[in-house]
Symmetry: C3
């Protein structure tokens, strides 16, 4: 991996000289443009409190399920990686020891986007010109650790240094957005906006549903004892999120099934859920109906609606019971959009002020369902490749399978969708490079002209993101 | 897009110099070969009446759902594009204004096959060496408009100029083929043949089924009051179509499900359909049985059977109610062939005189189902990439995923499948280029020899088309 | 095909000079490494008896369904190819005539892996520098025929010449492994090991189930009159296979559905199967439960578990009735892993000594299900592209869609999975070339360094195979 000490300036570009030259020229245009991050999972508290990050392992490794799932898959226990247990059971506390274990197994990431992001991050953020190996592990740890103590590595300073012009967090519907309030009331000029994610209160099959509902009641000051009041509370919170800068909502569902219930049916299921007697079918119908309600509200209040569908969450029950959610054990499953979104699109899909951004983990839907939907319905936009597919080959497949049908202008640019703050520039840089390379291929095959490619790379980097997420005013 | 003023002579070829050289050499062999178009949707009346086309907007834009769906997806109403409504409600009538709107948004097509076809068409058919933009819109309109008034732009002259050796239309089972008759009786030497498409009378769930059946009765002069008479009427019409030159039938189905009913069951469902009491399950079974009947008839009369499966028609009900079918709102859905075709293939698949050409909108079936079926059953041939997949990347995926299993010789060459007459040479040219490029890649990677590639490009361009569609006698 | 007389030394490599140079350098490292073949279908009797093969047609054509299915798909009867019928009905016996027919149609294989393997085999094994055509057919036949009579073409000599360090056969659970015993007791040093394949006794829907069970009883000397005894008999045979060198089991299932039955339910179904009254649902449940039992036993005895799922066997019933199984009429169908393997993985997937190697014919599962499962569960490893996908493009797709999520180290290297003995070196050579080319692409795009690629090609060729199949001790 010695060649990777410094990430190569032509990395991820096609080796063909014609393609590479065009790719480089396009990349030079956008490489220094600010970052717009319209969807992600960083913690608002980092920026409101602006405290230093504790150490490399706590910042880079322990919260990143991309990293520890790979180590786990090779027989390394999560305990030895310091991943905290739910019941507070003992796990490794020595962060240097954990870092060493990580470095000993860094070769496992060869060919993965995680390796690409980390190389970029080590070099660009920390100036590390040495490869992470068993031998270099401790020197690198100490180097990063000492950097993190400097003022220029405080969260707000990092944001500014990364030229992140706008960053959206993702926040539960019942949130009081206290950190966002603090930031708003401060004199800091960074733009951190919330996004409204109501899954905790719209998915009645979740064990924490009643708790979440109670929080929603507390936050809104409403007694939520009926479906109508539930809807009012959600509308009120959406309004509140908007006043705090939100431009979008986000919906994580197993299936994008949509279906309109009568007011009576909805009330009925809601009451069963309150009584703890709702079953699986109730939950499926309720989520399907709530997607309809959310689309209706989006048509009313203008918030952009994102649907992230198709992840079988917490597939590994032993891991879930011991360590909780988001531990690298979410496995995609087949997902269907054409029939499932029929109800929603027939009611709201022709509304030209409604933006519905679709994400998938099932790549077979790109050319079969998503591109045709985006290439017809005014409301539908294609989100960027998500999660496992946020990778060089994943992005390539997405472009190759969707652009010919949907065109570039029905897509939504890039999201980093990450909780790994330090990887944000690496992820945007990789996406820009892959887009430049894709466009360069079109130019080299004489499908578009170079000037057209220049226009398009600007759109993919900024224009389409702002339009899809209604960020033009920023 | 300035480079596109004149379509580049190496367009769509790989930029690698080795591949490009082989591709160019192969292309030079077939670029001027006549066009054989064994499946498409042009209007027979154009050629029987041979009247001039009215204007650019009416010819190029209004009938082409590839174009207006993309504009619609970006919020431009179909009314403003002059798409006629069913009830005659007012839509834009100023064809210059519509053309301007189209030109203003032509950038939306960057990277789509529509852009590639239109560039070719503008340059090759009309000699336009200017890019379609807001500014050039009217000059281009006037230029095309004046050309269309010349005798060399009459439909028959266009066909001859395009070197279209044979063109198949697609005609309802109940058709009297009056335009085909007129052409046959004329002294014109053009070869326009019909294809037998019985969906209107085999899909009992269609609202127009009874009407279509009544027309079939009128055309055949039979009283169709039983399933047996229905079958006889179809057999009679197939015979009639054959006498008019047809070599194929075509079946558009949501699913390729096949299943043999007893004569009693079939009769039963037919009577329910006549009485207007058949339900969805009846319709599914009836279509499944009719595919069996059609295969049986093909074995008897030698007509090649085409199945186009997997499109959820008229997904957008508001558009359907206002503008009718074929308005860019047909969305593919998951399609299954292995189990669904089991009945049909077990009864007729080993018959070496039966040609069954399969088409899909679900690319996940290429390597999983279609190539293995074509690589085993004597009757099965793979149709070319269909509709959304009739594109550079779409064709590449199809070849990459099917040839290694099915070989080239179980495929059926190219279809343009279009109602856009002027785009026919562009579509065949694009397909020839992509095939040359695919073969060039095999040569460059030493998988086949150049002489073998030369043989194969001839087969893909003419030989396999003639064989699959039984056009050898032409 | 004249260029193919001698397979080109750079075959299957990308034509781009940068990629090709790296690919060649990587290939030079491993091209002469011995072959490890951990999964395949050669006959153990060949090596225990070491008799000469009879003639080219009997060795190369008649047993290879890759070859005769392609000829059959083009209307050539299996009878004329000498494929034996079940009832001994007359088929062509003149092997020269059959070979001629094959040669006449060899052009059908252009672009298929069969053509690539045969070119390699003809040149490298038999020194044939002439293309197989109608004209050369007989000369080539005579040449191969005379070679096969030489001592260096006896089965053991072939194995040694091919540098096959280890070869696994696949053997029914009820086998006495007599040929393996003979080899063990001989002084021959070749390593032929069995693999335990219990489908014949775990799939109660098979017509030969009761026969197979009776054989299992005979082999084990047990009276198998209860489910518990059945389990004991299997455990005993697994132990016996291990003593004969087996390191793995193999399970061919239509669906990888797993589900634990109670002891009572299992007993119940087993008794129904013995009485011949079990239905389809019973069979589905029983297979699902037996996969759980097999995983449990693997955790206990350490045998690696392989699952090959998704083939609709004997799709063409006429062919099956006349010629039996494995006649090129097995067609893949959609396969689901995420939900189906949930029970098995939740019980055994976190066990770090359990190796579960998954194979698929449904490529849509690569990125959606298999790579995420392998990238999380310690037990799961990805098998190489199987059957139709054991090809240049198939391998490329597999790497492109899985490595970014699963990494290289959760994969299992290459299997040839063949009964075509002479094609083994050709298949391993092709796989090594495609892997070198894939790694070369990563190097050329600066995703990995060249030294890292060198390490990885060693792992893909030997290291990962040995680890996944627990062959380290060899």
């Amino acid at each position: 991996m010695s060649d990777l000490l410094k990430p190569h300036e032509d990395r991820f570009f096609d080796p063909d000289p014609t393609v590479r030259r065009f790719a480089r020229d396009l990349y030079n245009k956008v490489k220094n443009w600010p970052i717009i991050s319209p969807h992600g999972h960083t913690e608002p508290s980092w920026f409101s409190e602006n405290k230093p990050f504790s150490d490399p392992t706590a910042l880079i490794l322990i919260p990143d399920h991309y990293i520890f799932r790979m180590l786990f898959s090779q027989g390394i226990s999560m305990e030895s990686l310091g991943v905290p247990t739910i019941d507070g059971g003992v796990v490794e506390q020595d962060h240097r020891k954990i870092w060493q274990l990580f470095a000993d197994h860094f070769y496992l990431f060869a060919g993965t986007p995680t390796a690409a992001w980390l190389s970029h991050e080590f070099y660009e953020v920390f100036g590390i010109a040495e490869k992470l190996t068993s031998k270099s592990a401790m020197a690198i740890y100490e180097h990063i650790d000492s950097q993190l103590k400097k003022p220029e590595f405080l969260p707000r300073a990092i944001l500014e240094r990364f030229k992140i012009e706008l960053l959206s967090t993702t926040d539960p519907a019942e949130s009081e957005l206290e950190h966002h309030k603090t930031m708003r009331d401060s004199d800091w000029s960074g733009r951190i906006i919330p996004a409204f994610r109501p899954d905790g209160v719209t998915d009645i099959s979740r064990p924490d549903w009643q708790n979440n509902l109670a929080k929603l009641a507390a936050t809104t000051g409403m007694e939520i004892d009926s479906f109508d009041r539930f809807i009012q509370a959600l509308e009120q919170q959406r309004h509140f999120f908007k006043t705090m800068g939100a431009t979008s909502t986000d919906h994580g569902v197993l299936t994008p099934y949509t279906c309109e219930l009568s007011r009576n049916e909805a009330e009925n299921i809601f009451q069963k859920a309150c009584a703890g007697t709702a079953d699986k079918t109730d939950a499926l119908k309720f989520t399907a109906h709530m997607l309809m309600e959310m689309a209706r509200m989006s048509v009313d209040d203008g918030l952009v609606m994102q649907i992230h569908a198709g992840s079988f969450r917490n597939h590994n029950q032993a891991v879930f019971k011991r360590f909780g959610a988001d531990k690298g054990a979410d496995i995609p499953q087949k997902t269907e959009y054409t029939k499932n979104l029929h109800a929603l699109l027939n009611k709201f899909g022709n509304n030209i002020n409604f933006n519905l951004i679709l994400f998938t983990l099932d790549e077979s839907t790109y050319s079969r369902e998503l591109a045709p939907l985006a290439g017809h319905y005014p409301a539908v936009k294609l989100g960027p490749p998500w999660w496992f597919h946020d990778s060089i080959e994943g992005m390539k497949r997405c472009r190759e399978r969707t652009i010919e049908t949907a065109g570039f202008y029905n897509t939504a640019g890039f999201n980093d969708d990450t909780r790994a703050l330090l990887s944000i520039p690496a992820r945007h840089d990789l996406a820009r490079r892959v887009d430049c390379n894709f466009l360069a291929g079109l130019v080299a095959r004489h499908q578009i002209g170079f000037e057209e490619a220049e226009e398009l790379i600007g759109e993919l980097t900024h224009g389409l993101v702002k339009k899809a997420y209604k960020l033009e005013k920023f």
